[in-house]
């Protein structure tokens, strides 16, 4: 439908589509992530509060076995909340990794089609035929490609050349260069162009959004969870060691000791004891003492993760995730408004108006009529001239 083109405008639209694709990919994946941190009965924040509430109950009757069991259950729920959240994060990262692979395949299909179209366009131009239909089709494909990855377009004699914004060739004339994915030691797919790892340089399209969430956001959240889990487990364990269990023996670990580096602390968090009598509630070895429960309770207000108490640290994490999503969504909205305007502008330049075409048609018809009238007149005149002497 479009044959008049403004190449600068087309370029702006492509750039904006890359931006929007980026935000789309980012917001889409982050929205899935933030669900785990929405206020609910089973989120980590609630489980932390419940754990400390169970300790508080134990402090009123430290030898009571059902209260002790309550603490173990709450500790188990807390550990499970960390594990589930951490596992969901890993799962989501794997899904994003699949999306990255699929997107790269789509890019390869599109670049191959564009190269074919370039070839057809050149061939037709050489045969002095009008290739507009193919050019339109190519523009549509380049637009689709812009949704996926950052593309720069260079017009040349043999059609358009496409590169990523940092210069990796995608299409040159009638040749396309397929991207390749390879599993990185970190367990995710990296993107290669002609043997070179270009993962870190991709800056537009939904691919960039996916990569940002996969390689930065999810590992960041995972790290924060590890810090919190390790901080909680270590602080509670060391308080627990100072007490005595119901039999008067020194306290052991309450939670399985987290890895020294802290890495993987959330996904491996677990309660170390199953026997409620082993909870070290006593501070003097007598079964009725609740002195050490106070030490365990004090962890609630200690700066155990990056100098912050557990509930505050978790609240800050929720804030960080929420503001990532809301900022992304705001940028997404802005990008879609700009894109809408640019497309409207393109429509006003290149869109086919039926009225305009009708008016043109009438004009051509009139010209045709007039020309036909001239022929008729000439015919009549010739006729008159041929028959001049007949009368």
């Amino acid at each position: 439908m479009q044959s008049l083109r403004d190449s600068i405008l087309e370029m702006r639209i492509q750039q904006e589509r890359q931006q929007q694709g980026n935000f789309n990919g980012f917001v889409q994946s982050m929205s899935q992530l933030q669900v785990m941190f929405s206020p609910s009965s089973g989120d980590i924040g609630t489980r932390i509060s419940q754990f400390f509430a169970s300790l508080q109950s134990l402090s009123t009757d430290p030898a009571n076995l059902s209260l002790r069991q309550g603490v173990l259950t709450a500790a188990g729920n807390l550990a499970a909340a960390f594990r589930t959240t951490s596992q969901n994060l890993t799962l989501q990262r794997n899904n994003l990794d699949l999306s990255v692979g699929q997107t790269v395949q789509q890019i390869n299909v599109l670049t191959a089609q564009i190269a074919t179209l370039n070839n057809q366009i050149t061939t037709m131009q050489n045969m002095h035929q009008e290739p507009s239909a193919f050019i339109d089709q190519r523009d549509v494909l380049v637009g689709k490609l812009s949704d996926l990855v950052d593309v720069s377009t260079i017009q040349s004699d043999d059609g358009v050349s496409l590169t990523t914004s940092n210069g990796t060739a995608l299409v040159a004339g009638n040749r396309s260069f397929a991207l390749d994915v390879q599993l990185d030691p970190s367990g995710v797919q990296h993107i290669y162009a002609q043997g070179k790892d270009i993962t870190a340089t991709i800056s537009g399209g939904c691919l960039a959004g996916y990569l940002q969430v996969r390689d930065q956001k999810i590992p960041g959240v995972q790290n924060s969870l590890d810090t919190l889990a390790a901080g909680l487990a270590n602080a509670l364990n060391s308080a627990h060691h100072n007490g005595f269990d119901l039999a008067g023996n020194g306290g052991g670990d309450l939670f399985v000791a987290p890895p020294a580096s802290g890495q993987g602390a959330a996904s491996s968090m677990a309660v170390a004891i199953t026997d409620p009598t082993l909870i070290a509630a006593s501070s003097d070895g007598s079964p009725g003492s609740n002195g050490n429960v106070a030490a365990l309770l004090a962890v609630h207000d200690q700066g155990i993760a990056a100098g912050q108490p557990p509930a505050d640290y978790y609240a800050n994490l929720v804030f960080a995730i929420g503001s990532d999503v809301s900022n992304g969504a705001a940028q997404q909205d802005a990008a879609s408004l700009i894109l809408g305007q640019l497309q409207d502008q393109r429509g006003s330049i290149s869109g086919v108006s039926l009225d305009e075409e009708a008016a043109n048609l009438v004009q051509y018809q009139r010209a045709y009529d007039a020309a036909a009238r001239v022929v008729t007149s000439i015919n009549e005149m010739l006729d008159a001239a041929v028959n001049l002497g007949r009368y």
């Binding site: 309770l297 804030f319 809301s326 006003s348």
Partner: protein, 293 residues
């Protein structure tokens, strides 16, 4: 000027934005919450996490106070009975000190004082929900009658004290160990009672014995204040925590609760806008110049 002959994509985008606003408003009305996911208001969502934590903590404090209150009331009323019993013992002792009393009568008084002593022993061994109140932090019967002990009674408990947290950094001690309560040096209740019984039996030193029972009486009365204080502190804290909970829930409502009136009018607005956009899209001229040629 040439205008875009096909504005449909723009109109569709506008309709979608209206639809999104409408969905958000309906979700807020349905859940009653302005914050349904962290991105709805990141700072608010973080505040809600902290409010929930503090509110859960206040709940836990309140429930501890409720539990421990029973134990404190029990201790207080037990001590009240102890004081009554000691008063009776003093009266009996004073009666025994009058010189006109016959030997038989004095022995009968000694018998009666022995009964009071046994009553005191059972009071000192009182338990609440299976826990001895005056055993310190040991889980054993604290006072055991023991003829070999100079006071006639042996203390098996320990001197441990428990305190519970009932507010941020606010700890309340919730027990006095039996040795401090009934067996303090110089004011040993059971020794005084034992002395009184022996002196009545032997008719010597009754006055001294009575005065040491008086001393024990004064001491126990003084110690009883501890429980009264603890009960008062807890009840004040209970009021404070209930207020705090109310405040927290109001705060949460302000931060996260949906402004129902506002959201409802927003819903109506977005519905109207959407209807208008739909109507406009439907009314868009279908014809062209071709129709008139």
């Amino acid at each position: 000027m040439r205008v875009n002959p096909n504005p449909m994509p723009e109109i569709l985008a506008a309709i979608q934005r209206n639809q999104q606003q409408q969905n958000d408003a309906i979700l807020q009305l349905a859940s009653g919450q302005r914050i349904n996911k962290p991105s709805d208001d990141p700072a608010g969502a973080a505040t809600v996490v902290q409010i929930h934590d503090r509110s859960s903590q206040a709940d836990a404090f309140l429930s501890s106070i409720g539990t421990i209150n029973g134990q404190l009331q029990m201790a207080d009323s037990t001590l009240s009975s102890v004081v009554t019993a000691l008063t009776r013992a003093i009266a009996l002792g004073v009666q025994g000190a009058t010189g006109t009393l016959s030997n038989e009568n004095r022995l009968a008084l000694a018998q009666e004082v022995t009964g009071v002593r046994d009553q005191l022993l059972s009071l000192a061994n009182v338990s609440y929900e299976g826990r001895y109140i005056f055993s310190g932090t040991a889980q054993v019967q604290p006072f055991v009658a023991d003829a070999t002990a100079p006071t006639g009674v042996r203390y098996d408990g320990n001197s441990g004290v428990n305190s519970i947290l009932v507010g941020n950094g606010f700890r309340v001690q919730v027990n006095l160990p039996g040795d401090q309560m009934f067996a303090a040096a110089g004011s040993d209740m059971f020794r005084a009672m034992n002395d009184l019984i022996t002196s009545l039996q032997s008719n010597s030193g009754i006055d001294t014995a009575v005065s040491s029972v008086r001393q024990a009486f004064d001491y126990v009365t003084g110690q009883r204040v501890f429980y009264g204080n603890a009960i008062n502190q807890l009840s004040a804290q209970q009021t404070y925590l209930s207020d705090e909970k109310l405040q927290l829930s109001q705060q949460e409502n302000t931060v996260a609760g949906a402004d129902v009136a506002g959201v409802a009018s927003q819903l109506v607005n977005s519905q109207n806008a959407r209807d208008a956009a739909l109507a406009a899209a439907g009314k868009m001229s279908q014809g062209s110049l071709f129709d008139y040629l």
